[in-house]
Subunit: 370 residues, 2 copies
């Protein structure tokens, strides 16, 4: 294998595929990136066996191809090496004994490689009738829900994102059982889907998605392929039945509070300053006749009290406590606008919605403080 390529072209592709390489991987060959130069161009592939990312750099985007071939290059340092190369044009040449020379006129990296025959066969599959979704829309759906997945491996299904499609309605849910994020959107799709995407792979997907391009989503029973701009991003699914979350979200509310997002978020942020992660960053909210009071108390440090004007349908006083961290993360999914905070009692879920848009629901469970 021997070729010459622009630094930025190879750097961007390596940056994309290297997202499949896991720090916790213990299979040596999967620490490598597969370089496969053939008549189409250069295919780069990386895998942690549950996530496979493959990208094609087309023939016409390669400066010069001297010799086709395949090699597995150690991914460690590779991005740094390419990034620091002094020229815009870089030469690659595979040497005898599984080595690669990456070089310019004045510098020369000689890296140990691995035998391509040892690399696992990765089967990238396409379905006949993929879902097609705009990348901006997909990024928004991920951004508005992914933060609410669980990080506890004890309940593995909750570390995933539940994606359902039924009658052209897409629904995406994440929950760690203390809070829940739900986004709906209309799509064109034949058939029904109910799958659980591994959360950590969805986080990597969001990073590699381009702006404003069509993404093909090829859905199978045990895996999904996202295909966009010469990238094949294929992840396994989590096996199991995601809990039914629909009946967790109340539909009727005693308190309908309207407030400005940024005013409310800044007040929560200031009240959160004196709270501590070990106490779940609890703050208290008191709603009383169009005035909202947000406060927190730290015995050694002192207390803080914030007052904001709100519009509320119910004049009866209500006190409710919750995690300020969860509230701030939920608020970050809305654009700057007026929001609705919907309450029933101090022990019932808190619902946050945009005034104008029904497609996003954030739910936070209150915390009992007495």
């Amino acid at each position: 294998m021997k070729f010459t390529i622009e630094k930025n072209v190879i750097l961007e592709a390596l940056n994309n595929v290297s997202k499949a390489i896991s720090m916790r991987n213990i299979i040596p060959i999967l620490n490598g990136i597969k370089f496969e130069l053939n008549k189409d161009g250069l295919y780069l592939t990386a895998s942690d066996s549950e996530l496979n990312i493959k990208q094609l750099i087309k023939k016409e985007d390669i400066k010069n191809i001297d010799k086709e071939g395949t090699i597995i290059v150690q991914s460690k340092y590779l991005l740094d090496i390419i990034r620091k190369m002094p020229n815009d044009i870089i030469d690659f040449e595979v040497l005898d004994g599984f080595k690669i020379k990456i070089f310019t006129d004045t510098n020369n990296y000689n890296l140990n490689c691995m035998d391509p025959s040892e690399y696992p066969t990765i089967k990238i599959e396409e379905s006949k009738d993929p879902l097609v979704i705009n990348s901006n829309k997909l990024k928004e759906i991920i951004h508005q829900t992914i933060f609410a997945i669980s990080t506890q491996e004890l309940r593995p299904l909750l570390t995933g994102l539940n994606l359902k499609i039924m009658a052209d309605n897409l629904e995406c849910v994440a929950t760690d059982s203390y809070r829940l994020a739900k986004k709906t959107d209309s799509v064109k799709f034949n058939g029904e889907v109910n799958i659980i995407l591994p959360g950590k792979n969805v986080i990597e997907l969001e990073k590699t998605l381009p702006n404003d391009e069509d993404v093909e989503v090829h859905i199978f029973s045990n895996k999904v392929l996202f295909k966009y701009s010469n990238i094949f991003f294929q992840t396994n699914l989590l096996a199991g039945n995601y809990p039914n979350t629909n009946n967790l979200i109340p539909t009727e509310f005693k308190y309908i509070i309207k407030t400005n997002l940024s005013t409310f978020a800044a007040a929560v942020d200031r009240a959160a300053l004196l709270t501590q992660a070990k106490d779940k960053n609890i703050i208290k909210m008191i709603v009383n006749d169009n005035i909202m009071n947000i406060n927190s108390f730290a015995s050694e440090i002192g207390k803080v009290e914030e007052t904001i004007n709100i519009e509320c349908n119910n004049k009866e006083k209500l006190e409710i406590s919750f995690s300020s961290k969860y509230m701030l993360e939920a608020l970050k999914t809305f654009k700057d606008e007026d929001i609705l905070i919907l309450l029933n009692s101090d022990i019932k879920p808190i619902i946050i919605k945009s005034v104008d848009d029904e497609s996003l629901i954030q739910l936070i469970l209150p915390i009992k403080t007495y």
Copy 2:
């Protein structure tokens, strides 16, 4: 104590004085910042008993003074609290029982304070005949030397910066015994000085120094006061005799190499990529007839080789190994220009100087690799 002040004014002063507060401090009162409002204005003081920083916010820079007084405010969270306040104007009011209220129309922090009578008396002293030095010059002297101090508490004197003045010549030296940085400058000063400034306090001094202002340096046998823009920055000195470092620096060289700083630094940086901190990030430099070759080798990963053109008076080949980390840190003290690398043999110190400026010398000891 009761006053109203602009957010930016109090924030900047708190940011300066809080640099004296030590994370490792175990005396509770020294976790506080002393607020002292009197006829001059507001004095803020913080101390870790070895470093005292005091700043005056003049009366005319305070919006409104209702009542003078003194209180010790916990420094923890204080900067964050002020930074996040929603208004540009903030009210401060001391309440009964050592509490302070920091508030605007819509928010109110109520913080526990400490009894000002328990705060240690801090004596800020001025000498009759201080050294006067421009703050930019002082920042440059610190920047060019401080990185070379030792972080090993086993040799406490080497954790300091040695400052000597003799016959209007200032000399500043830092060394951790593997490398040395020396900066000289001419100053106007009556008398001789040979002191050791605690390195960690000098790092904080550099952060608070303003741009292009006169700094008064009041030097005593056991402490030094830096006075500038209403700030009194007083540090204790390290007691002892700093090792004589003058005879460590060779004055004659067999190899005088001229090279471009940024070309050389980039090559060292690339060669350093495959090195590891546990092996002291060793790289090898080979000088041979106006060609310099820089290389490193990592058994598991591979090797890298850089070639740069140099001007060298000596055509005989020389191989020398050194820490790339130390070399990169030394190179960062020079501006982009041509530099001289001065060598005698593979076991003698490496000296780096600017071609045009004799005032800065960087020394690095080579590492034997055989």
